[in-house]
């Protein structure tokens, strides 16, 4: 991939990232952090790619398998715990006005 394409993607993603969370009530800070945390668990994709590139029975393979385990914990655990937090908000009807 050429450098300009990568820089473009990076810069645009920075702006999107800034934009989507610019107004969040403090109530949602914790779930939002937890959800964003789960999203970077997608490094699992990278861990699988490097495991594929590694020779059988090599140090590289063992390290990449460790990365897969850690990334899976990050991704799946992150989404599950975020869902649990948000589940509690769900049945509440906003009362009062």
């Amino acid at each position: 991939m050429d450098a300009i394409a990568i820089i473009s993607i990076f810069v645009l993603a920075v702006f999107v990232g800034f934009e989507v969370v610019s107004k969040v009530s403090s109530t949602l800070h914790t779930p939002l952090m937890s959800g964003a945390n789960a999203i970077h668990g997608v490094i699992l994709v990278g861990a699988i790619i490097v495991a594929d590139h590694s020779e059988a029975n090599s140090l590289e393979l063992w390290l990449s398998l460790a990365a897969i385990i850690l990334a899976t914990i990050n991704m799946v655990g992150g989404f599950v715990v975020t869902d649990r937090m948000l589940e509690m908000f769900k049945p509440k009807k906003k009362g009062g006005e």
Binding site: A3, I9, F10, A13, V16, G17, V20, V21, L28, H29, T30, P31, L32, M33, S34, G35, N37, A38, I39, H40, G41, V42, I43, L44, V45, G46, I48, I49, V50, A51, H53, S54, A56, L63, A66, A67, I68, I69, L70, A71, I73, N74, V76, G77, G78, F79, V80, V81, T82, D83, R84, M85, L86, M88, F89, K92, K93, K94, G95, G96
Partner: protein
Amino acid sequence: MNSTLYSLIGLAAGVAFILALKGLSHPKTARRGNLIGAFGATVATLSVFLYVTPSHGEEVGHSLPLHNFWWILGAIAVGLIIGVPAARKVEMTQMPQLVALFNGVGGGAAALVAIVEYLNLGAEATTAEVIFTVFTVVVGCVSFSGSIITFMKLQELMTTRPVVFPGGRFVIAGTLAAVLGTSVWVVAALGTTPLLVLAVLSLLFGVLFVLPVGGADVPIVISLLNAFTGLTVAASGYVLSSTLLIIAGTLVGASGTILTRLMAEAMGRSLFGTLFGAFTAKPQEASGSAEERPVRSGSADDVAILLNYARRVVIVPGFGLAVAQAQHTVRELADLMISKGIDVAYGIHPVAGRMPGHMNVLLAEANVPYDQLAEMDEVNPTFGQTDVAIVIGANDVVNPAAQTTPGCPIYGMPILEVNHASNIIFLKRSMRPGFAGIENELLYDPKTMLLFGDAKASLTKVVSALKAL
């Protein structure tokens, strides 16, 4: 699957992550947003099994299935077996440290991915790839070890106070210099040994970076390390030519940075002060002969009488409430008072609990009606007309020192101004100061009454005393 389709799936996953973050920013769409994110991540993970990313220098990848296919599946299974039960069983009170831990392992995974790809590339790596590898290893390791320390602080496996040792700032600055020097060494010398030295130094720096952070600032640091991990994922996306990783990592890096700033604002902390606390922190001065001073403590009956004749009561819940699992008893007390015609509200500080919004999660778990929860800006002007403020297991968020004592660690943090209420009742286990470790003047105020004991047991006694009246 051809590379175009694979890239398009990656793009779709990237869009899913944007929608996820967008959804998570609004109460009504938050849960759906999280599910969209989970869906995107699942699709992205499945797609790697159907398309082989070419190794460096190859035009096309080898034919399917992936090399080491069963090992990969096995490792994912192990991750699921560890991650899912941990996320399902964790008590909501302990959830902040679990998030810290998940973030740490993500950073560790990114660092490992970079190291492995570096070992696989060997001398073929371009300078740009080596620079991104170095970045991923340094920041990933800092995120990993830093998160472990925040986990230990929140789990109270170690002190929650800032850990400051003499000459600490020089040790930290020295470690940082060593990390930077070794980074240059890796780029220049291209060897395995320099990279491993770099990883070890970065791990050490992560520990030193977080140690001087005080308990109250820990959530800000978790959020910051979360943004760090996002950036490492983006950098490893560059090395692996994966657009998806670049998009996802950058999104988290950017939104995490904004979130960190928002949190710091909600807590009235300067981000700079939190981050460079390591360089400026002084050991805490002893708070004089505070423990010797008299306090007024009362019994559950005294509290019940006070409540019985009140017209307006504000309940200020804190982390201690959750620790004692007293959410349900509080609700019982609130319902009883409402049935006696007393006006009851919960005053929720934005950072009550251990993280912004944590207290809302805990009270929602006890089915406290949403309309009884009043945010700080709403409830503060009403304390003047409040007869009784009941502070349950909270301390720092009502400490007037935040407004009156420049130089104290929480100075400038917005507080719930319970000191304006006619009577204040503190339910406390002991005279121990709060998470930030600061003495609270309000405990010695003449209009304050203390009810010592476990919050749940005390509340149960108050409820039965109030019923008897």
